[in-house]
Amino acid sequence: MASQQIRVRRRVPYWLDNATRDRALAVMSFDTDTGSVDLGYLAEGTNTVHTLGVGDRLDTAEASWRVTEIHPGDEGYVVLEPA
């Protein structure tokens, strides 16, 4: 799953499997003061929110990503690379 770069857009859940739609990454909010993002990882019915900055790792049961870009704003997005 984490074999390629992914972009998680504001307001749009990034479904890790469109067939089931039970696992996703999603931008919950940006913090423009710190430049961080609150990124939700939904799995097994729980949306766990991680506060991440550029360079931080997101480790989940299924894959690990590293945050490479954070673009806040109305059409903001986050870029994750396989870690």
């Binding site: 972009r7 857009r9 749009v12 859940p13 469109n18 067939a19 739609r21 909010s29 997005y77």
Partner: protein
């Protein structure tokens, strides 16, 4: 059972060879009915003479003797015409059934009940009239009023054609004639100097025409029509403004396989799951209508006999338009719907596709694409779904509750930036739209996320709601 067997078995109740046998029998009966009538009438007349009085007082037999200028008014002779009509109609329905089986082989499911839709006999003259009118646009001097009246006349003629007549027209038109019609209809460029220099059909009229034709055309003609009327097939281009936000690579247009129905278990707010398009403001309204008035959703979508789907949306005047789209949907690399909806039923995906086609009030000026429905205000989608005006509410708990208890759908928005308490972190999204889902017994407001049921609902006190939400809009689903 193979996939192919499963496909054709959907119509197992309709045995086409047997129905065609019945058609043959009906035609034979229609042919012999006048002769039978004459024979029975002759026997009764002879018997009357021989017995010197009415041979029968049975109304059925007495009526056999009644005719005007030799034309029988009752059975069996009078059945000749109706029997022929039934045979014609049954034959057309058999033809349609066989077309449906071909569609199923291509993965396009059509509700079997539609197989018995019938249409009147095609009239070659009506098709010829439409072709002549379109050919007549070549080199025509439209005069000072421009060409819109001519185009509206042609649109009216085309929309009145049956499927068979439309098939003739599309086959008879030259490439140049089709291209000319397309350019004239789509010419909405306005120089600002001449009030008549943008006389193509307005957006919704153009979609009405293209959609009406799409709903009747054979699948082989769909691509021709989407080229003639570009707006009827919205490109899947979410986040495409700067190429930075696109989230879905490898999207293709196709029909999900194996075939998925419009509805699996009726309409429920739980059916909605936002996909790769940033249209939470629209889907929150769809969730609201599905929850409060599921019948309105059910009545607002229909499958056409050729496999296309029509969704009822409304313009800014509240007028209803059936927006027709082809059955293809944007699918991810695994063949699953990439937009709204899920994998069990497709009604949400078609509502989204039709809305992308129809919406014409995008803040960024996009029209006729999925990009056009990304990011907008909470009160704008309701009127498109219901034809009834929405109301911009203050973010006032009591006002929102009163409006909800009045039966209205309430869509509420969060501000672009806001720090929330930890207890809301897993469900609160900034710059997002939610729909009010009710109120708890202890007076908290319940807010549902259009991303889907996998995400938690928010339960907030009046103070929390007014603190963490920044906009709200309401609309009724019916008068």
């Amino acid at each position: 059972m193979t996939e192919s067997d499963q496909s054709t078995s959907r119509y197992v109740g309709f045995d086409v060879p047997q129905i065609r046998g019945l058609v043959t029998g009906l035609r034979a009966a229609a042919t012999s009915a006048p002769t039978l009538h004459q024979d029975v009438a002759a026997v009764l007349a002879d018997a009357d003479e021989d017995t010197d009085g009415p041979v029968t007082t049975s109304p059925g037999l007495e009526n056999v003797m009644v005719s005007v200028f030799g034309i029988p008014l009752h059975a069996p002779g009078a059945l000749a015409g109706p029997l022929d009509e039934i045979a014609d109609s049954s034959g057309r329905r058999c033809d349609h059934l066989e077309e449906l089986k071909d569609l199923e082989q291509d993965g396009i499911t059509v509700d079997p009940s539609l197989a018995f839709l019938d249409e009147s006999l095609p009239d070659r003259a009506d098709a010829d009239e439409a072709v002549e009118a379109i050919e007549g646009l070549d080199g025509k001097d439209f005069g000072t009023n421009g060409n819109r009246d001519d185009l509206r006349d042609i649109a009216s003629t085309l929309k009145g054609l049956s499927s068979a007549e439309l098939n003739w027209v599309l086959n008879d038109l030259s490439v140049e004639d089709r291209q000319r019609l397309s350019e004239l209809v789509g010419n909405t460029d306005d120089s600002g100097l001449n009030p008549f220099d943008h006389n193509g059909l307005p957006h919704h009229e153009r979609l009405d025409l293209g959609g009406a034709l799409l709903s009747k055309a054979t699948p082989g003609q769909w691509s021709m029509l989407t080229q003639m009327f570009p707006g009827v097939h919205p490109p899947f281009d979410p986040g495409d403004d700067n190429k930075k936000g696109a989230t879905i690579d490898g999207v293709t247009w196709d029909v999900p396989k194996p075939p998925v129905p419009l509805f699996d278990d009726g309409v429920s707010a739980d059916d909605i799951s936002q996909g790769g398009v940033g249209d939470c403001w629209f889907l929150a309204s769809v969730v609201g209508v599905a929850g409060r008035d599921p019948q309105a959703i059910r009545e607002g979508i229909k499958q056409n006999p050729n496999g296309t789907v029509s969704v009822r949306l409304h313009d800014s005047d509240g007028a209803a338009h059936w927006v027709t789209v082809s059955p293809e949907l944007p699918l991810d690399e695994n063949g699953n719907p990439a937009g709204a909806g899920g994998t069990d039923e497709l009604w949400v995906a078609y509502y989204e596709k039709a809305f992308a086609t129809f919406y014409d009030q995008d803040n960024d000026g996009h029209t006729g694409s999925y990009r056009a429905i990304e990011g907008d205000f909470t009160d704008k989608a309701g009127p498109y779904l219901t034809g009834r005006p929405s109301e911009d509410l203050d973010v006032d708990f009591d006002e929102v509750r009163e409006s909800y208890e009045d039966g209205k759908v309430i869509v509420a928005g969060t501000p672009g930036e806001k720090k929330v308490e930890d207890k809301f972190k897993d469900g609160y999204v900034t710059g997002h739209a939610y729909v009010v889902d009710g109120f708890t017994d202890d007076g908290k407001i319940i807010l549902r996320n259009p991303w889907g049921t996998a995400y938690p609902k928010l339960e907030m006190t009046p103070e929390e709601f007014e603190k963490y939400f920044s906009s709200a809009g309401s609309f009724p689903t019916r008068d």
